[in-house]
Protein backbone atom coordinates (compact mmCIF):
# COMPACT_ATOMS: atom_id res chain seq x y z
CA UNK A 1 0.00 0.00 0.00
CA UNK A 2 1.48 3.34 -0.99
CA UNK A 3 1.58 6.25 1.39
CA UNK A 4 -1.22 8.08 -0.44
CA UNK A 5 -3.55 5.08 -0.24
CA UNK A 6 -2.98 4.66 3.46
CA UNK A 7 -3.72 8.35 4.10
CA UNK A 8 -7.12 8.02 2.43
CA UNK A 9 -7.71 4.75 4.26
CA UNK A 10 -6.82 6.38 7.58
CA UNK A 11 -9.24 9.28 6.95
CA UNK A 12 -11.98 6.81 6.08
CA UNK A 13 -11.38 4.57 9.06
CA UNK A 14 -11.36 7.36 11.64
CA UNK A 15 -14.59 8.81 10.23
CA UNK A 16 -16.17 5.35 10.09
CA UNK A 17 -15.35 4.60 13.71
CA UNK A 18 -16.41 7.93 15.22
CA UNK A 19 -19.59 8.26 13.18
CA UNK A 20 -20.40 4.58 13.54
CA UNK A 21 -20.28 4.99 17.31
CA UNK A 22 -23.23 7.44 17.10
CA UNK A 23 -25.17 4.32 16.19
CA UNK A 24 -25.37 3.59 19.92
CA UNK A 25 -27.34 6.81 20.40
CA UNK A 26 -29.63 5.90 17.51
CA UNK A 27 -30.29 2.34 18.67
CA UNK A 28 -31.07 3.58 22.16
CA UNK A 29 -33.27 6.41 20.88
CA UNK A 30 -35.24 4.07 18.63
CA UNK A 31 -36.02 1.64 21.44
CA UNK A 32 -36.77 4.52 23.83
CA UNK A 33 -39.39 5.73 21.34
CA UNK A 34 -41.11 2.35 21.10
CA UNK A 35 -39.34 0.68 18.16
CA UNK A 36 -38.28 -2.95 18.58
CA UNK A 37 -34.65 -4.00 18.36
CA UNK A 38 -35.31 -5.58 14.94
CA UNK A 39 -37.00 -2.43 13.63
CA UNK A 40 -34.09 -0.30 14.90
CA UNK A 41 -31.63 -2.54 13.08
CA UNK A 42 -33.76 -2.53 9.92
CA UNK A 43 -33.69 1.28 9.92
CA UNK A 44 -29.89 1.32 10.16
CA UNK A 45 -29.46 -1.38 7.53
CA UNK A 46 -32.03 -0.15 5.02
CA UNK A 47 -32.53 3.60 5.57
CA UNK A 48 -28.86 4.14 6.48
CA UNK A 49 -28.99 7.92 6.91
CA UNK A 50 -28.55 9.18 10.47
CA UNK A 51 -30.68 12.32 10.52
CA UNK A 52 -33.56 10.60 8.68
CA UNK A 53 -33.47 7.68 11.09
CA UNK A 54 -33.51 9.93 14.16
CA UNK A 55 -36.39 11.85 12.59
CA UNK A 56 -38.54 8.75 12.09
CA UNK A 57 -38.19 7.63 15.68
CA UNK A 58 -38.53 11.22 16.93
CA UNK A 59 -41.79 11.90 15.09
CA UNK A 60 -43.35 8.55 16.01
CA UNK A 61 -42.13 9.02 19.58
CA UNK A 62 -43.84 12.41 19.73
CA UNK A 63 -47.11 10.72 18.75
CA UNK A 64 -46.99 11.46 15.02
CA UNK A 65 -48.41 9.16 12.35
CA UNK A 66 -46.22 6.94 10.20
CA UNK A 67 -46.98 9.22 7.24
CA UNK A 68 -45.62 12.31 9.02
CA UNK A 69 -42.60 10.29 10.17
CA UNK A 70 -41.88 9.11 6.63
CA UNK A 71 -42.40 12.62 5.21
CA UNK A 72 -40.04 14.24 7.73
CA UNK A 73 -37.35 11.60 7.22
CA UNK A 74 -37.65 11.84 3.44
CA UNK A 75 -37.29 15.63 3.44
CA UNK A 76 -34.08 15.13 5.43
CA UNK A 77 -33.02 12.43 2.95
CA UNK A 78 -33.30 14.85 0.01
CA UNK A 79 -29.72 15.95 0.52
CA UNK A 80 -28.48 12.43 -0.21
CA UNK A 81 -29.93 12.82 -3.70
CA UNK A 82 -27.79 15.92 -4.17
CA UNK A 83 -24.72 14.03 -2.92
CA UNK A 84 -25.52 11.39 -5.54
CA UNK A 85 -25.46 14.07 -8.22
CA UNK A 86 -21.98 15.10 -7.07
CA UNK A 87 -20.63 11.55 -6.77
CA UNK A 88 -22.11 9.86 -9.85
CA UNK A 89 -19.80 11.44 -12.48
CA UNK A 90 -16.78 10.69 -10.26
CA UNK A 91 -17.68 7.07 -9.54
CA UNK A 92 -18.89 6.07 -13.03
CA UNK A 93 -20.53 2.84 -11.89
CA UNK A 94 -23.54 0.96 -13.28
CA UNK A 95 -25.94 -1.83 -12.41
CA UNK A 96 -25.65 -3.39 -8.97
CA UNK A 97 -22.52 -1.36 -8.18
CA UNK A 98 -24.51 1.83 -8.72
CA UNK A 99 -27.22 0.57 -6.37
CA UNK A 100 -24.62 -0.14 -3.70
CA UNK A 101 -22.96 3.23 -4.25
CA UNK A 102 -26.37 4.90 -3.92
CA UNK A 103 -27.08 3.10 -0.66
CA UNK A 104 -23.83 4.33 0.94
CA UNK A 105 -24.22 7.90 -0.38
CA UNK A 106 -24.42 9.85 2.88
CA UNK A 107 -22.87 12.96 4.49
CA UNK A 108 -19.70 11.14 5.53
CA UNK A 109 -18.84 9.17 2.37
CA UNK A 110 -19.40 12.25 0.21
CA UNK A 111 -17.49 14.45 2.66
CA UNK A 112 -14.42 12.21 2.80
CA UNK A 113 -14.46 11.76 -0.98
CA UNK A 114 -14.48 15.54 -1.54
CA UNK A 115 -11.76 15.87 1.09
CA UNK A 116 -9.46 13.68 -1.05
CA UNK A 117 -9.74 16.00 -4.08
CA UNK A 118 -6.10 17.10 -3.76
CA UNK A 119 -4.97 13.46 -3.87
CA UNK A 120 -6.67 12.83 -7.21
CA UNK A 121 -9.77 11.21 -8.68
CA UNK A 122 -8.72 7.68 -7.77
CA UNK A 123 -8.34 8.58 -4.10
CA UNK A 124 -11.73 10.33 -4.13
CA UNK A 125 -13.34 7.10 -5.30
CA UNK A 126 -11.46 5.09 -2.68
CA UNK A 127 -12.41 7.56 0.05
CA UNK A 128 -16.06 7.24 -0.92
CA UNK A 129 -16.10 3.43 -0.89
CA UNK A 130 -13.94 2.98 2.22
CA UNK A 131 -15.97 5.48 4.23
CA UNK A 132 -19.38 4.38 3.00
CA UNK A 133 -18.70 0.72 3.72
CA UNK A 134 -16.85 1.47 6.97
CA UNK A 135 -19.65 3.65 8.37
CA UNK A 136 -22.19 1.05 7.26
CA UNK A 137 -20.45 -1.71 9.22
CA UNK A 138 -19.87 0.26 12.42
CA UNK A 139 -23.21 2.13 12.33
CA UNK A 140 -25.10 -1.17 12.19
CA UNK A 141 -23.04 -2.89 14.88
CA UNK A 142 -23.40 0.05 17.25
CA UNK A 143 -27.12 0.38 16.50
CA UNK A 144 -27.63 -3.20 17.67
CA UNK A 145 -25.59 -2.51 20.82
CA UNK A 146 -27.56 0.65 21.63
CA UNK A 147 -30.92 -0.97 21.00
CA UNK A 148 -30.11 -3.98 23.19
CA UNK A 149 -28.77 -1.69 25.90
CA UNK A 150 -31.91 0.46 25.93
CA UNK A 151 -34.10 -2.63 25.90
CA UNK A 152 -32.38 -3.81 29.07
CA UNK A 153 -33.34 -0.56 30.85
CA UNK A 154 -36.70 -0.27 32.52
CA UNK A 155 -37.74 3.39 32.83
CA UNK A 156 -35.76 5.16 30.09
CA UNK A 157 -36.13 8.51 31.88
CA UNK A 158 -34.10 7.15 34.80
CA UNK A 159 -31.19 6.80 32.37
CA UNK A 160 -31.75 10.17 30.69
CA UNK A 161 -32.64 8.65 27.32
CA UNK A 162 -35.54 11.09 26.96
CA UNK A 163 -32.90 13.86 26.87
CA UNK A 164 -30.42 11.95 24.73
CA UNK A 165 -32.74 12.18 21.72
CA UNK A 166 -33.15 15.98 21.59
CA UNK A 167 -29.44 16.30 22.42
CA UNK A 168 -28.67 14.12 19.40
CA UNK A 169 -30.81 16.33 17.15
CA UNK A 170 -29.08 19.39 18.57
CA UNK A 171 -25.68 17.80 17.90
CA UNK A 172 -26.72 17.18 14.30
CA UNK A 173 -28.00 20.71 13.65
CA UNK A 174 -25.29 22.68 15.52
CA UNK A 175 -22.48 22.33 12.93
CA UNK A 176 -24.92 23.49 10.22
CA UNK A 177 -25.52 26.85 11.90
CA UNK A 178 -22.76 28.81 10.20
CA UNK A 179 -24.46 32.14 9.56
CA UNK A 180 -26.68 34.36 11.70
CA UNK A 181 -29.53 33.78 9.26
CA UNK A 182 -29.14 30.02 9.87
CA UNK A 183 -29.39 30.55 13.62
CA UNK A 184 -32.44 32.78 13.20
CA UNK A 185 -34.10 30.10 11.08
CA UNK A 186 -33.28 27.44 13.70
CA UNK A 187 -34.72 29.45 16.60
CA UNK A 188 -37.73 30.50 14.55
CA UNK A 189 -38.54 26.93 13.55
CA UNK A 190 -38.09 25.67 17.11
CA UNK A 191 -40.51 28.31 18.44
CA UNK A 192 -42.97 27.67 15.61
CA UNK A 193 -42.98 23.92 16.30
CA UNK A 194 -43.58 24.46 20.02
CA UNK A 195 -46.38 26.96 19.38
CA UNK A 196 -48.11 24.61 16.93
CA UNK A 197 -47.76 21.46 19.05
CA UNK A 198 -51.00 21.92 21.06
CA UNK A 199 -52.90 22.92 17.90
CA UNK A 200 -51.81 20.68 15.00
CA UNK A 201 -51.81 16.86 15.00
CA UNK A 202 -48.46 15.44 16.20
CA UNK A 203 -45.76 15.41 13.54
CA UNK A 204 -47.22 18.24 11.46
CA UNK A 205 -45.58 21.05 13.45
CA UNK A 206 -42.24 19.50 12.50
CA UNK A 207 -42.97 18.95 8.79
CA UNK A 208 -44.42 22.46 8.51
CA UNK A 209 -41.00 23.95 9.29
CA UNK A 210 -39.63 22.42 6.08
CA UNK A 211 -41.94 24.77 4.21
CA UNK A 212 -40.54 27.71 6.16
CA UNK A 213 -37.07 26.60 5.00
CA UNK A 214 -38.26 26.28 1.39
CA UNK A 215 -39.89 29.71 1.49
CA UNK A 216 -36.76 31.31 2.96
CA UNK A 217 -34.47 29.52 0.49
CA UNK A 218 -36.46 30.49 -2.58
CA UNK A 219 -36.99 34.08 -1.52
CA UNK A 220 -33.34 35.07 -1.02
Amino acid sequence: MSRVVSATFRDSLSVSLTVGAYGVAFGAAAVANGFSVIQSCFLSLLTFSGASQFAVVGVIGAGGTSISAIATASLLGLRNALYGVIMAPRLQVHGIKRAIAAHITIDESTGVALGQEVRGADQMRKGFWYTGIGVFIFWNLFTLAGALGAQAMGDIRAFGLDSAVPAAFLGLVWPRLKKNSDRALAVGCALFAIAMTPILPAGLPIIATAFIAIAVGLRK
Binding site: T18, Q39, Q53, A81, A167
Partner: protein, 102 residues
Amino acid sequence: MNAYWIATIGTSVIAFLLKYSGHSVPEKWLSHPRIQRVNTLIPIALLSALVAVQSFSEKSALMIDQRLVGLCVAILALMLKAPFPVVVLSAALSSAAVYNWL
Protein backbone atom coordinates in the same frame (compact mmCIF):
# COMPACT_ATOMS: atom_id res chain seq x y z
CA MET B 1 -48.61 -4.22 10.07
CA ASN B 2 -48.34 -1.49 12.71
CA ALA B 3 -47.21 2.13 12.45
CA TYR B 4 -43.65 1.25 13.47
CA TRP B 5 -43.18 -1.19 10.60
CA ILE B 6 -44.86 1.12 8.10
CA ALA B 7 -42.54 3.94 9.17
CA THR B 8 -39.48 1.67 9.09
CA ILE B 9 -40.12 0.25 5.64
CA GLY B 10 -41.60 3.39 4.07
CA THR B 11 -38.65 5.50 5.19
CA SER B 12 -36.16 2.94 3.92
CA VAL B 13 -37.75 2.64 0.48
CA ILE B 14 -37.93 6.40 -0.04
CA ALA B 15 -34.43 6.93 1.36
CA PHE B 16 -33.02 4.51 -1.20
CA LEU B 17 -35.05 5.97 -4.08
CA LEU B 18 -33.76 9.45 -3.22
CA LYS B 19 -30.16 8.26 -3.10
CA TYR B 20 -30.53 6.28 -6.33
CA SER B 21 -32.24 9.12 -8.17
CA GLY B 22 -29.28 11.38 -7.38
CA HIS B 23 -26.99 8.91 -9.11
CA SER B 24 -29.31 8.66 -12.11
CA VAL B 25 -30.80 12.06 -13.02
CA PRO B 26 -28.92 14.59 -15.17
CA GLU B 27 -26.72 16.82 -13.01
CA LYS B 28 -28.36 20.06 -14.16
CA TRP B 29 -31.72 19.07 -12.63
CA LEU B 30 -30.49 19.36 -9.10
CA SER B 31 -27.58 21.76 -9.30
CA HIS B 32 -29.64 24.96 -9.44
CA PRO B 33 -28.42 27.37 -6.71
CA ARG B 34 -31.94 27.79 -5.30
CA ILE B 35 -32.28 24.04 -4.87
CA GLN B 36 -28.85 23.91 -3.25
CA ARG B 37 -29.87 26.65 -0.82
CA VAL B 38 -33.18 25.04 0.09
CA ASN B 39 -31.26 21.81 0.59
CA THR B 40 -29.01 23.36 3.23
CA LEU B 41 -31.93 25.05 5.00
CA ILE B 42 -34.34 22.10 5.27
CA PRO B 43 -32.21 20.07 7.72
CA ILE B 44 -31.74 23.19 9.88
CA ALA B 45 -35.51 23.73 10.08
CA LEU B 46 -36.51 20.12 10.68
CA LEU B 47 -33.78 19.29 13.17
CA SER B 48 -34.43 22.47 15.19
CA ALA B 49 -38.15 21.68 15.29
CA LEU B 50 -37.34 18.15 16.44
CA VAL B 51 -35.09 19.46 19.23
CA ALA B 52 -37.91 21.69 20.45
CA VAL B 53 -40.74 19.18 20.23
CA GLN B 54 -38.69 16.39 21.80
CA SER B 55 -37.62 18.65 24.66
CA PHE B 56 -40.87 20.34 25.58
CA SER B 57 -43.79 18.14 24.65
CA GLU B 58 -45.49 14.91 25.67
CA LYS B 59 -47.89 13.90 22.88
CA SER B 60 -49.70 17.19 22.16
CA ALA B 61 -49.19 18.79 25.57
CA LEU B 62 -46.37 21.21 26.30
CA MET B 63 -44.37 20.60 29.45
CA ILE B 64 -41.16 21.47 31.20
CA ASP B 65 -39.34 18.69 33.02
CA GLN B 66 -35.86 17.14 33.42
CA ARG B 67 -35.34 17.33 29.65
CA LEU B 68 -34.87 21.11 29.92
CA VAL B 69 -31.79 20.48 32.07
CA GLY B 70 -30.50 17.95 29.55
CA LEU B 71 -31.01 20.43 26.72
CA CYS B 72 -29.17 23.23 28.55
CA VAL B 73 -26.25 20.91 29.31
CA ALA B 74 -26.15 19.83 25.65
CA ILE B 75 -26.04 23.47 24.51
CA LEU B 76 -23.24 24.15 26.98
CA ALA B 77 -21.29 21.10 25.77
CA LEU B 78 -21.66 22.23 22.14
CA MET B 79 -20.53 25.75 23.00
CA LEU B 80 -17.44 24.16 24.57
CA LYS B 81 -16.94 22.28 21.28
CA ALA B 82 -17.44 18.85 22.85
CA PRO B 83 -17.68 15.92 20.41
CA PHE B 84 -21.09 14.43 19.62
CA PRO B 85 -20.97 11.45 22.04
CA VAL B 86 -20.01 13.76 24.93
CA VAL B 87 -22.93 16.07 24.08
CA VAL B 88 -25.45 13.22 24.11
CA LEU B 89 -23.99 11.56 27.19
CA SER B 90 -23.78 14.71 29.30
CA ALA B 91 -27.39 15.57 28.42
CA ALA B 92 -28.52 12.08 29.40
CA LEU B 93 -26.58 12.03 32.67
CA SER B 94 -27.76 15.45 33.84
CA SER B 95 -31.36 14.69 32.92
CA ALA B 96 -31.21 11.32 34.68
CA ALA B 97 -29.75 12.99 37.77
CA VAL B 98 -32.64 15.49 37.93
CA TYR B 99 -35.22 12.75 37.31
CA ASN B 100 -33.84 10.42 39.97
CA TRP B 101 -32.84 12.83 42.71
CA LEU B 102 -35.00 15.94 42.52
